[in-house]
């Protein structure tokens, strides 16, 4: 059975108050485990000796990445929404195809907003 939450996630919005290091451990065993854990964490999160990252270089690199990631988005949106679709056709397809409204609209757009054409295309085997 699947656990409700993966063990790696600390449930609860504990971020601002969570104090991993100051947890009073119940026993010596727990303290050891906690120490090991925090060691692990520091190994993972702060600079690891084997893969030392130049902080400045990383930040620089980041800047070059952000420039591209953001300008990409608006281009795609415009191409799709050119075709006009009739709301009545959309609801017809939603009922006949049992798909979401968004999907019905998309299918209609792919067929120039023509419902008959869309249904005929839908009927073709998809393999």
């Amino acid at each position: 059975m699947a656990e409700p939450q993966p063990p790696t996630i600390h449930e609860g919005a504990t971020d601002d108050i969570e104090t991993t290091t100051s947890k009073p451990a119940a026993s010596a065993e727990d303290r050891k485990a906690a120490a090991a854990l925090s060691n692990l964490d520091s190994n993972n999160t702060t600079d690891n000796t084997s893969t030392q990252v130049d902080q400045a270089a990383a930040t620089n690199a980041l800047n070059s990445v952000s420039a591209v990631s953001e300008k990409k988005l608006p281009v795609e949106a415009s191409a799709k929404s050119k075709v006009k679709v009739d709301a009545a056709d959309v609801s017809l397809l939603v009922a006949e195809f049992e798909v979401s409204k968004a999907r019905a609209t998309e299918l209609l757009r792919q067929n120039d907003g023509d419902a008959v054409k869309t249904i005929r295309a839908f009927l073709q085997p998809a393999f």
Partner: protein, 731 residues
Amino acid sequence: MPQILSTKEANLFRQVIRDYEEKRYRAGLKAAEQILKRNPKHGDTMSMKALIMNAQGKTEEAFNLAKEALKVDFKSHICWHVYGILYRTNKNFEEAIKAYKFALKLEPESQQIQRDLAILQVQTRDYEGYVQSRFAMLKARPQLRQNWTALAIAHHLEGNLQEAERILTTYEKSVSVAPSKTDFENSEALLYKNSIISEQGETERALEHLEQECKKCLDRLAVMELRARYLAELGRKEEAETAYRALIDRNPDHTDYYKRLVDVLGLTAEDEAAQKAIFDEYSAKYPRSDAARRLPLDFLTGDEFRTAAKAYLGLMFNKGVPSTFANLKHLYSDSFKKDTLPSLAEEYLQEAEGSNAEASSDSSKGVGAALFFLAQHYNYHMSRDLTKALEYVEKAIQLDPKSVDFQMTKARIFKHQGDIAKAAEAMDQARLLDTKDRYINTKAAKYQLRNNENEKALNTLGLFTRAETVGGPLADLIDMQAMWFLTEDGEAWQRRGNVALALKRYHTVFNIFDIWQEDQFDFHSFSLRKGQIRAYVDMIRWEDKLREHPFYFRAALDAVKLYLSMYDKPEGVNGANGNNANGEDAAEKKKAAKKAKKEAQKAEKEAAERAAKQNPNKAQKDKEEEVKKKDDDPNGVKLAETKDPLGDAMKFLEPLLQFSPKNIEGQIAGFEVYIRRKKYVLAAKCLKAAQALDENHVKVQELAATMQKTMDGVLESLAPKVQEALKTELA
């Protein structure tokens, strides 16, 4: 305004969180209530209390409380985060994402919330959102390699390969110190980047990258295989040949390497001698390699085949390899080979008789193995002669009455004769020859199920399930996700007319696939942390087509068919679905269900007591967990009482059509459901798909007639656009 806690209470609040994280729900609840006594309107505490209640299985109360908490303190990111977690655990991912996003707006710095959101986005395949989340996480901590890799994966999954590669390269350039040789994360990241280059179709560059950057990668085999593949794709034949030869030297039983080597050498099917020479070379070099001896049988013909097959069979019989037949039966599509193999086995027997030497005391070798081969040969559907099969198997049994294999084959012969009861009995006898063999135990149970002996089969399997599982063998088999059993058990119940239990089993199989889907959750962060990203991406892609699995197909098709029969004959299928025609039966079944429930409770209690004796602390925890696990319909009675069998069937049907569109059985079932639901376009779609798959299928022609007839009656009543489309497409 949110209430502010005193220092003492703030400490107590931290205690609540700790208690929750460590699953000490009772203590946590107590502490939370203590805070609330003084500060009844402290939203964060209310939220934490709700979270704990949810973990204890009180979902509804938890939601109510969490909503209260939001009313009191709607600007608290904790309240929103908890609200999101509640939705998440109840699988309403859409609402959960909304709540997380709101929490993040209130507390943009929280890495915890950001991480929860990101995981949910990739789980729901919202790659666009995932890219954004991953980008934000990278911005927060660019010094962590994980975050770079994760962003690359996000781009990759979204289909933006160039960007993915660029992210990885950017990170690589920012590293000033060369990573150590044993840095696993680095090694995997390099190979991951290589796979991205290759996926872009740039084999040349991929090869270059592989040779320059991945020489020292820890996964040596992957590097060698990729290199060989790239070389072959680029037509650099000589180098590819060397590469594949090196791979065969590593593993002379990997059949694929041989095939590719032959391809690279440009040998065609007609070049039998040249191909044979390669395999001869390797069978001389690696006398223990089976592949090098067996594979030539695939392409050899005529006398060449006869000679090679004779040598191979002789070797296998002398060694006593039980899987000989299974390894060769794929050759039977060639009728010459189908006839040659048994005659060679006969020859072998005659020669053995002639020499009359007591070869060995081990009956699975020599004569016994040949007899076994022949028995299987005559039992196989392409070469079936059950009388002969029985003759050979009896001879083999005479030789060794205690052989499990021989007995098992005898049972299979009975099955093919159609005598299922006798087959089940024979298989159980085979089982008794070796009660510690799990394989034969499973086989025996399966045959019992085929013979509709559900209870007996469960007892048989119970010999191998964990004794301490609460709820007995059945619960253990469900826990272990023994889907073959659940499906066979369901089918047996269905044959026995117990619709309720049959549905229950099919639904259980369905749920197991849900669990597999949900199991991904753990890996979105785990795989990254461990750096095993190639395997992670493979897994994501596998999960995307999870339900094309044959186990899913079979159980789902069973369920759809059962729902169809329930719809067609609301009464008479069984007594459990609320009809008075079989009232007495229904009452009896209810009684039985009650009894079963009582017994389950009793067993549970006993197990809990036993556990308590062993470990008093653990017992309490278990109890708290169990609250959630309890099944409120263990016998499927509620499932069978459905008012809308066709609607219920849809749950099973949709993945069938989506993931196994090429299976004609699924399309036929889809048609049957849609036509009854008056969804004519969808029915027509299934019909057209079925026709494309096999126009001459008897059932398909039947469906076409049904469609035509239905259309004649209803066409006028349909929307004009639908009419027009259907008329043209069905003409």
